[in-house]
């Protein structure tokens, strides 16, 4: 300042100055004067200078002009290349083929039928031939096809980081086998993921015989084997439990998320829904948990207590059954809840099912088996089948063993195993080039399950084949061949290995492959008695101290999207909103409202969690319905070397994970930084509007039209300006399509969302775009929280001041979120007969067809987005950018490539020449581009930038079915698709749904299922009072709570509705 003052003094002759700076004539001011625009505005501050940019631009345009003049206006010439030799006579161009196969999971397999189009696997469906299967899948199976086309797959055989030929690598395996033959495998150890493959078990046995001193360890970061281990311990023989949720009338789940994160959730959902819809009465689900899980959201009664206190409940229930003296200590509220629940269990003796969650310690599982025995469940709702005892999962032993060569079979131990040993040599068989690859001496690229022969057993013990649909894209090796070579087997062909394991006749083998399962059960259910001495010991265990703000409980759980990290590089999974939190592209530290306010943290605050001296930093997410003083950490994120999609997404909870899924004694510290979390639904409440209509079973039985009565007030009808063209067109149409979705069945598992993405070539957009609300899912699952109006005191919905839940930052601290109910509602284009979107399209790009579909002509759309603005359901999706052309590595932003400016080899470049020559290239690296083209469904247009898109009830499937019927009809008039003939197509969401919650069909056929559903009194149209006449309708959700329970209540949403929109009166009483 003194300098400025000196300048001021020396300045002479100047009379007017605009600021002290000018007066003082500081260098900054000179600079400012010199510049016309503020810093940064006039320069292109990137690697490419403006001059360079213009040079290239002009050159490119000149070339482009030449191209125009030279090539003329003709379309580019296209070549048709037929076969030289006609292949198999059954091959028909353009016709899909379907193959039965299965996706192996940790403790079972999902029977599948995979569609292959001209040799490429395109879409995964469930095998509906499989006994007791409705053809549903789960989200992991749906997404697994994208892994096949993942550009970051391990593609090469590598030795010490250098690429070697396949032959060389296979020779190394033979050498390995020879090296350990003389010393019977001393120093050889295997670290394998669990598997149900009989062929692998056979090879494992061969290896054990050949190398008797070798060690085999099984390790899964997410341990689903505990059910079997506990059953084996409880019944004193190797058995595996099968839970029959369909046969149980009362289900008590002790922290068991069987609908969401447990293995085999597809099967569980299917059976659970069968029980809910059973003719002899709806089943009832009690859930005791700390995290808010999907199962909790679907439960009729949910008790929110810390995970480590659940053992007390189990102890109490056991003492109720009077097999041992109780030592349970529970507060009076919980006691009342649990004892009423116990009465319900007693009344339904023989028809109850008690399940313990896989993250709970084995004691709880043992207590659960004891309870099941006491309530007569064993043999009824729980059957036990003989099982193969799994090999040691005692990793302590692995660390103690002197290992020379460690063979890592799948998994990613360097990432998710904190005590990963460092032997002399690591031979790794893996699907990705990941964290473990870096530490391995030999790397063998694994073939995808759609590329390799194999076999597996489903959770109920049925043998299923895994048959390849395509040759390994990058020459990967199958697990069986890999093991056979180590074993030094003469037969290393995986097909022959599986065939040999299967045995039987060639006829049986063919049938096995065709059906996709072998319907021969070689076992009888086992019965037994729980060894009560275990139970007595557990019951006398001291009570675990409760957690507090200073000593928090941490729960590590399997993420519903990336699993244990294996789907981290799968863009569909990363962008899939979590079924409860709706978070995409991240994991978070889930915490209850009360705990958050005590610790003074809010959504997005980065906190450092310390547990047993280890630390990890992650963002806070306040989760309604969480138990107090518990932290929920999803595993599988924070990958350091996952690939272009998954690297660096979220934080790595494995850093503080030591193998126990529930731990206490954690503390958190605010770092002061924040992290932006992208959710697809920031508003939590329905505000009393009846989008989702619910009723308790009792209420519904008294008043079956309860859902209809929530229909809003319709506007007065004036004569329409012009008639709806559909009214005329539908007179001559063959079908009228419609859909019904049963909210009683929908559990919100997200499978339909991924199935739709796979079927309809829906791109992923990246976190930044999700934050802008630009996610592209055609079907989304809306999740609403509802709460008891006693805690949620909104006197009037119409009063804006009373509506305190306007935006996320406010609602996260509202008390009403403490004990919430959650409802899920799939939302997709409703195919309104009087569609508001159509009236506002200036170019008629969206119009009705004669069968009632609201269709989109992409090539006509000019992108005004009026339709989306006018859609009351917000189901239209706009391609703001060319998402299909954007490189995966640029998904995270902050700058996005375009043909004019894009990043290649780490530098921003402008390359109009390449772009002009081949407009498809230039932006994506070549490998990505080739693979993404392979993965697309050829029946659906890939949309470009500036185009609106939305669900059309899978119009490509409808047309395919119609054409097939017309070809069959030939010169006759038998062209109508009917349900009786089984020719009605299934939409992708319907086919994938494990709960069978979606029905699609012809509403002009009075015998169709969809008509029957729509005639159900529960049927209602969302926002039907807008007179949009949607073709998609919903069946109201029925809850089945126990009237005797202390938390018995009408569905909160119904009560909210009554308070806000229905004048405080009960539905059914009419409005004044």
């Amino acid at each position: 300042m003194s300098e400025a003052l000196n300048n001021l003094n020396s300045a002479s002759g100047k009379r007017y100055w605009r600021s002290l700076d000018e007066l003082a004539d500081t260098p900054e001011f000179k600079e400012w004067l010199h510049r016309e625009f503020p810093s940064g505005a006039s320069e292109f501050t990137d690697d490419v200078s403006r001059r360079h940019f213009l040079k290239i631009m002009s050159a490119s345009f000149a070339l482009a002009g030449l191209g125009l003049a030279g090539a003329g206006c003709r379309r580019p010439e296209e070549k048709l290349e037929p076969f030289g030799q006609q292949p198999d006579a059954s091959f028909v161009y353009g016709k899909s083929e379907y193959f039965a196969t299965a996706m192996p999971t940790r403790t079972g397999a999902i029977p599948l039928v995979v569609r292959s189009y001209e040799g490429r696997p395109i879409k995964i469906e469930g095998n509906s031939l499989f006994p007791g299967n409705n053809g549903g899948t789960d989200r992991y199976a749906q997404a697994s096809i994208l892994n096949l086309y993942d550009p970051d797959r391990a593609r090469n055989y590598k030795h010490d980081g250098k690429i070697v030929s396949r032959e060389e690598a296979l020779k190394a395996l033979d050498d390995l086998s020879k090296k350990f033959s003389p010393n019977s495998g001393e120093g050889l150890a295997f670290l394998a993921e669990s598997s149900t493959s009989p062929s692998r078990a056979r090879l494992q046995k061969i290896i054990a015989q050949k190398f008797p001193k070798s060690k085999w360890f099984t390790y899964d970061a997410i341990d689903s084997d505990i059910h079997q281990r506990a059953a084996t311990q409880a019944f004193g023989q190797p058995v595996k439990p099968i839970f029959h949720f369909d046969k149980a009338k009362v289900i008590l789940s002790l922290d068991c998320d069987f609908i969401g994160d447990e293995d085999d959730c597809r099967n569980h959902i299917q059976k659970y829904i069968a029980g809910r819809k059973a003719k002899d009465g709806m089943s009832r689900l009690y859930q005791i948990e700390s995290l808010f899980t999907l199962t909790g959201a679907n439960a009729d009664h949910r008790l929110r207590i810390p995970a480590n206190q659940i053992v007390e409940v189990a102890k109490f229930l056991n003492s109720e059954t009077a097999t041992a003296a109780g030592s349970a200590q529970l507060s009076s509220d919980i006691l009342k809840w649990v004892s009423t629940c116990a009465e319900d269990l007693k009344t339904n003796h023989g028809k109850v099912l008690i399940v313990a969650g896989q993250r709970q310690p084995i004691e709880i599982h043992l207590l659960a088996y004891e309870l099941n025995l006491a309530f007569g469940a064993i043999g009824n709702t729980v059957t036990l089948i003989p099982a193969q005892a799994n090999s040691s999962s005692d990793l302590e032993l692995l660390n103690r063993t002197n290992v020379d060569t460690l063979v890592v079979l799948g998994g990613n131990p360097a990432y998710n195993l904190n005590s990963f040993p460092k032997p002399n040599a690591i031979v790794r068989f893996g699907y990705y080039e990941d964290e473990t690859t870096e530490q391995s001496n030999w790397n063998f690229p694994a073939a995808h399950y759609l590329e390799s022969w194999g076999d597996a057993k489903t959770s109920d013990g049925t043998l299923v084949p895994i048959q390849p649909l395509i040759q390994p894209l990058f020459g990967g090796i199958s697990e069986l061949e890999f093991l056979a070579r180590i074993a030094g087997e003469s037969q290393t062909n995986p097909h022959e290995i599986v065939r040999a394991t299967f045995g039987n006749s060639d006829e049986d083998w063919k049938k096995f492959l065709f059906n996709g399962f072998h319907d021969f059960f070689d076992f009888q259910p086992v019965t037994g008695k729980v060894a009560t001495n275990f139970v007595a010991a557990i019951l006398t265990l001291p009570k675990i101290s409760t957690s507090s703000a200073q000593s928090l409980e941490v729960i590590f759980y399997r993420d519903s999207k990336v699993d244990d990290g294996r789907y981290a590089n799968n863009g569909w999974m990363q962008e899939l909103p979590d079924p409860i939190t709706r978070i995409t592209w991240d994991n978070a530290v889930l915490i209850s409202r009360k705990t958050a306010s005590e610790l003074n943290v809010a959504n997005g605050d980065l906190v450092e969690i310390s547990l047993n001296g280890k630390k990890v930093t992650g963002p806070i997410w306040i989760q309604p319905g969480m138990a107090d003083y518990s932290l929920g950490l999803a595993l599988g994120y924070g990958r350091e070397k996952a690939g272009r999609v998954g690297t660096g997404v979220g934080f790595n909870a494995y850093k503080i994970f030591s193998g126990k899924y529930i731990e206490t004694g954690a503390t958190i510290r605010k770092t002061g930084e924040t992290h932006v979390i992208a959710t697809t639904q920031s508003h939590w409440s329905m505000e009393g509007r009846p989008q989702v209509r619910e009723a308790n079973l009792e209420e519904f039985q008294k008043n079956p039209t309860v859902a209809e009565e929530m229909h809003g007030k319709e506007p007065p009808i004036v004569a329409p300006l012009y008639p709806n063209p559909l009214d005329e067109a539908k007179k001559t149409a063959l079908h009228q399509w419609g859909m019904a979705i049963d909210l009683t069945s929908c559990v919100g598992c997200n499978t339909c969302v991924v199935a739709c993405q796979s079927e309809n070539n829906i791109p992923i957009v990246g976190k930044d775009q999700v934050l802008r609300g630009r996610e592209m899912h055609w079907i989304r699952i809306d999740r609403y929280y509802t709460s008891s109006p006693k805690t949620k005191d909104n006197p009037s919905w119409a009063n804006p001041n009373a509506d305190r839940n306007l935006s996320d930052p406010q609602q996260q601290f509202e008390q009403w979120i403490e004990d919430v109910q959650a409802v899920h509602e799939p939302m997709l284009c409703q195919q309104c007969e009087a569609a508001p979107c159509e009236n506002v399209c200036p170019v008629n790009a969206t119009v009705h067809d004669q069968e009632g579909l609201n269709v989109m002509a992409y090539n006509r759309c000019i992108g005004t987005r009026y339709c989306s603005n006018n859609c009351p359901y917000k189901v239209r999706r706009f391609n703001f950018l060319d998402y299909n052309k954007r490189p995966l590595s640029e998904l995270k932003g902050p700058v996005y490539g375009s043909p004019i400016l894009h990043k290649s080899d780490g530098k921003w470049k402008t390359d109009l020449v390449t772009w002009w020559k081949d407009r498809e290239y230039s932006m994506r690296p070549e490998d990505e581009w080739d693979l993404i083209k392979l993965s697309k469904n050829p029946d659906v247009t890939v949309r470009m930038r500036g185009v609106m898109e939305k669900c059309t009830y899978c119009t490509q499937r409808i047309e395919e079915a119609k054409i097939a019927q017309k070809i069959k009809a030939g010169g006759t008039d038998n062209v109508r698709l009917t349900e009786a003939a089984g020719t009605i197509p299934k939409t992708a969401c319907q086919q994938a749904c494990p709960a069978g919650a979606i029905v699609f069909g012809d509403i002009s056929d009075p015998n169709s299922t969809v008509v029957a559903w729509k005639d159900n009194p529960r049927n209602y149209a969302v926002l039907g009072d807008l007179l949009t006449k949607p073709r998609t309708t919903y069946l109201a959700r029925i809850r089945n709570p126990n009237p005797k329970m202390p938390d018995y209540h009408a569905p909160y949403s119904t009560e909210e509705y009554e308070n806000h929109l229905h004048g405080g009166k009960k539905v059914g009483e009419g409005i004044g």
Binding site: R74, E78, K79, Q86, V92, G94
Partner: protein
Amino acid sequence: MSAIFPKWTNWLPLWIVVILALVGGVVTAAVTIYFTQKYTRDGYQPVQPVPFSHKVHAGDLGLDCRYCHNMVDKTAYANIPAASTCMNCHNQVLKDDPRLAIVRASATNNTPIAWTQVHVTPDYVYFNHAVHVDRGISCVECHGRVDQMDEVREVKPLSMSFCLDCHRAPAKYVRPVDKVTDLGWTWSTNGVQAAHLQTVEGKKLVEHMRMESLQSCSACHR
């Protein structure tokens, strides 16, 4: 005071209007004539790698279209036959003809012959051959008299309006299903009577087969 603007400038606005109208008219006319598929595609006749004559095979020898294009009534695509199909006859007929050298090589080595596509629909059009051919729409309606062409050329515009012409009035084009590949077939040898019969019989066929002749977007765009 002299005029700043000479007198002729009074007519300038009128001239501008007239010239603009002329230019605009010419541009509009040029676009409507030259930017249509009728102009850009009609008569397109690329040179093919093999001098194959449809006239000889389909016309003079009377081979059915479906002998070679054997999947046309089963699937969306009218396949170009594999070289092995050619060799069914040509391993005896014209065995050593040099014009067939490429075909023989293709059949032996199982390498494709790169034919140039003549009839192209845009990628966003999902045209299905089978549903047309199996339901009484003849090849000739879109491809013309291929049996009279030595080298195939495009004779119909294959534009959206061309498709819609037929989809709006299928009775004018439909014929009995068994006459679909008989390209020269008409309802009668007498032209006037044939036209009359087409309207009468065509209408009957449309009703009998319950032809939808869809005109909504979803029929072709998915």
